[in-house]
């Protein structure tokens, strides 16, 4: 399966905004985070980074154990500042 990862963090590697990540079926969000870190993306979960799966805050749907499905959209972002 593949999931679309959108990175809205300032610390993202130069030029990287969105990327398709191919993963084994049944992978979880934790697997994805490990994969992204392995390819050089720093994801500091202690700094309030928000992870959304199809727009839903991962915290409310199973945290890092959330199972991913084919074509899911995962967004990494800072808490938004408000408007």
């Amino acid at each position: 399966m593949k999931v679309l990862v959108k990175i809205l963090l300032e610390e993202r590697p130069e030029g990287v905004n969105d990327l398709w990540v191919h993963m084994r079926d049944g992978s979880t969000l934790k697997d994805l985070v490990e994969h992204l870190e392995a390819i050089g993306l720093k994801i500091d979960l202690s700094r309030n980074t928000i992870i959304l799966v199809n727009g839903r805050h991962a915290d409310y749907i199973g945290g890092l154990g959330t199972c991913l499905n084919d074509l899911d959209e995962v967004v990494l972002m800072h808490p938004p500042e408000g408007g």
Binding site: D59, P79, G82, G83
Partner: protein, 617 residues
């Protein structure tokens, strides 16, 4: 009194008379300043049932104890009046430099009454107050008015003005400062217009005296350190509210197509990487190191050459996502026209959204809208309609009445597509995607204003995370945030740093005590009680106008139509459950009215049911 100027200026436009009055210490203790004292003045001075566009309406401008001091982000001003848009009590908050200057001129508030016979502007330079002819600037845009009035007064004067929209009594017209900061919502521009008041221009040379200078300096230093340490500080400084557009779309807040909430093609246009391309300058309000204001420069397309104040998050939505439009240049131009003509960008975008949808549904035809072809995503007719609304031309004359009245006038079931609460157009948050935030929009005394209770718990997960889609525990948190905002606006603080907990009530309490020496302010619990007192008093002003819980109503679409897109797919706004819980949390009865017990608890027991249309149980 320390940190206050101790004076309120009454301007009687009918008589052309200015009377300075003493600000009573008792009032200050009970309401602190800004929104608090303004609400109290309205309670005392506004006769129930008056036409908001008549000379009997009262318009109050106020600042707070920390305005004009060395504190950060506390220099905003509040405009309060009976709204011609909602017919409710109203409060609208503006930034820039006007608030601080009013204080320097020696006043904590200005109360405007009556109606001038001819177009007039008031020039206040310390103790000298002049009612001057405004015939030349009448008809001018806000920026031209500013330039002319600076020439006629002083190049350093600060002002609030109205544009052609306010003059034409457009019910969604704004009050605009010399630096294009606005108290945009609720039709304050039309209230000024109805009084023949083009501008209030101020210049002052006093400064507030601080009770304990050393302690105040220390606590402001602490405030600055907290700002700088907060991770959001740099982002707000770099991007303003524009950094929120794309993330909020992703989170389901940035509604699309008049709240139909379909996926928006080309949403990528609102990613911050794209928006920063237009930014050429940063600026801020008086005494605010966040400097969230940005200037956009357009270099391509039909609007090349335009350089103007940037569209905020709300405006990228109202003229953008709300109409299926992703053309940032056109949105910038619509924003510029609103500033110049003096219009509220949120309400203007929403009323345009109504006609786009009516046109799509075949409810109105091309002839009725002056030959415009209103296709979702097409920016040109949108820009055209902004002008028509401001000048009340053609269909613009109907739309200038705001979305509720426009829908009623157009008939044919148009009301179903009019997105408002109590007549105030919904902002860029979908109540279905964040329930406490939605509950604020529904229960706020002024209608659907996000600023009255922006829920950082749900939206940013700060200071604690809260599932935006659940209904549990939302009543209490909505009440707390609303009361907190009422307190913030006594300062008069900007809500942005508070929303991200760069500021909190504990720090405010210490600042207030050091600045004023008023013992009561040294107690956080007391401060929150004042916040709640203000919120309840605002509710009572509405009740006196016959506006009670029946008006706490979201549009049908929000209650009935499930959201089709992620992450709120399938969600509706559970209004009945949420409201019942909210009234309980507030200590109000089932009609949404404060109970006698509640009023006693809040020190509002002097509210006399017999003298009003309120019957308090």
């Amino acid at each position: 009194m320390f940190s206050y100027m101790g004076r309120v200026l009454e301007l009687d436009l009918t008589k052309g008379k200015a009377t300075p009055m003493t600000l009573s210490e008792d009032l200050v203790k009970r309401f602190i300043g800004g929104r608090g004292i303004g609400a109290s003045f309205l309670w005392d001075l506004l006769k129930p049932g008056v036409d908001p566009l008549s000379p009997e309406n009262v318009l109050i401008f106020s600042v707070g104890p920390l305005t004009g001091t060395s504190a950060q982000s506390s220099h905003r001003w509040v405009a309060q009046f009976k709204s011609p848009l909602t017919t409710t009590y109203f409060r609208s908050v503006g930034g820039g430099f006007f608030g601080a200057e009013l204080k320097f001129a020696g006043y904590d508030a200005v109360v405007v009454r009556g109606r001038a016979e001819r177009p007039t502007y008031v020039y206040i330079e310390n103790d000298v107050v002049e009612f001057r002819k405004a015939d030349i600037v009448w008809g001018m845009t806000t920026d031209a008015t500013r330039d002319f009035l600076r020439d006629e007064t002083s190049k350093d004067s600060k002002m609030v003005v109205i544009g052609p929209a306010g003059e034409r009594l457009v019910r969604i017209s704004a009050i605009v400062t010399d630096d294009m900061r606005t108290a945009a919502r609720g039709g304050g521009g039309a209230v000024m217009g109805s009084k023949n008041l083009k501008a209030i221009v101020v210049k002052g040379s006093s400064r507030p005296t601080i009770y304990d200078e050393d302690a105040f300096r220390e606590v402001v230093k602490e405030q600055v350190e907290r700002f700088v340490k907060n991770p959001v500080f740099e982002r707000l400084k770099a991007f303003g509210t524009d950094g929120s557009c794309y993330p909020f779309y992703t989170l389901g807040h940035f509604p699309t197509y008049n709240f139909k909430q379909l996926e928006l093609d080309n949403i990528e246009a609102f990613r911050i990487e794209n928006l920063t391309k237009y930014m050429v300058k940063h600026y801020g309000c008086y005494g605010c190191m966040i400097r969230c204001g940005k200037v956009f420069k357009l270099t391509e397309g039909p609007y090349a050459g335009v350089v103007w104040d940037f569209p905020e998050y709300e405006t990228h939505w109202s003229f953008g996502g709300n109409l299926g439009i992703t053309n940032v240049e056109a949105i910038t131009v619509a924003n510029m026209l609103c500033d110049k003509y003096g219009l509220d960008t949120i309400s203007t975008g929403v009323v345009i959204g109504l006609v786009y949808e009516l046109y799509e549904k075949g409810i109105i035809g091309r002839k009725e809208i002056g030959g415009l072809d209103l296709r979702w995503g097409d920016p040109e007719p949108m820009v055209n309609l902004v002008r028509k609304i401001a000048l009340r031309e053609g269909i613009g004359d109907i739309l200038a009445e705001g979305v509720k009245r426009a829908a009623e006038a157009l008939g044919r079931g148009a009301e179903r597509f009019a997105m408002h609460v109590k007549g105030l157009e919904l902002p860029a948050y979908d109540p279905r995607s964040a329930k406490a935030n939605g509950l604020n929009l529904v229960t706020s005394p002024i209608g659907a204003s996000h600023t009255m209770g922006w829920n950082s718990y749900e939206i940013a997960g700060i200071p604690q995370k809260m599932d935006p889609l659940s209904v549990e525990g939302k009543a209490e948190i909505t009440k707390y945030v609303q009361d907190r905002v009422a307190l913030i606006e006594t300062g008069v603080f900007c809500t942005l740093p508070w929303n991200r907990w760069m500021m909190d009530e504990e720090l405010y309490s210490r600042m207030l005590y050091a600045a004023t020496g008023i013992r009561e302010f040294n107690d956080v619990k007391y401060l929150l009680l004042v916040g709640e007192r203000i919120f309840n008093l605002e509710r009572l002003i509405n009740a006196r106008e016959g506006i009670d819980g029946k008006y706490d109503k979201a549009p049908l679409r929000i209650v009935k139509e499930p959201v089709p897109r992620f992450p709120s797919k399938g969600q509706v706004f559970e209004e009945e459950i949420l409201l019942k819980d909210y009234y309980r949390a507030r200590g109000w009865d089932e009609r949404g009215m404060p109970t006698r017990g509640k009023l006693n608890e809040l020190g509002l027991s002097e509210v006399k049911p017999a003298s009003t249309r309120i019957d308090v149980k």
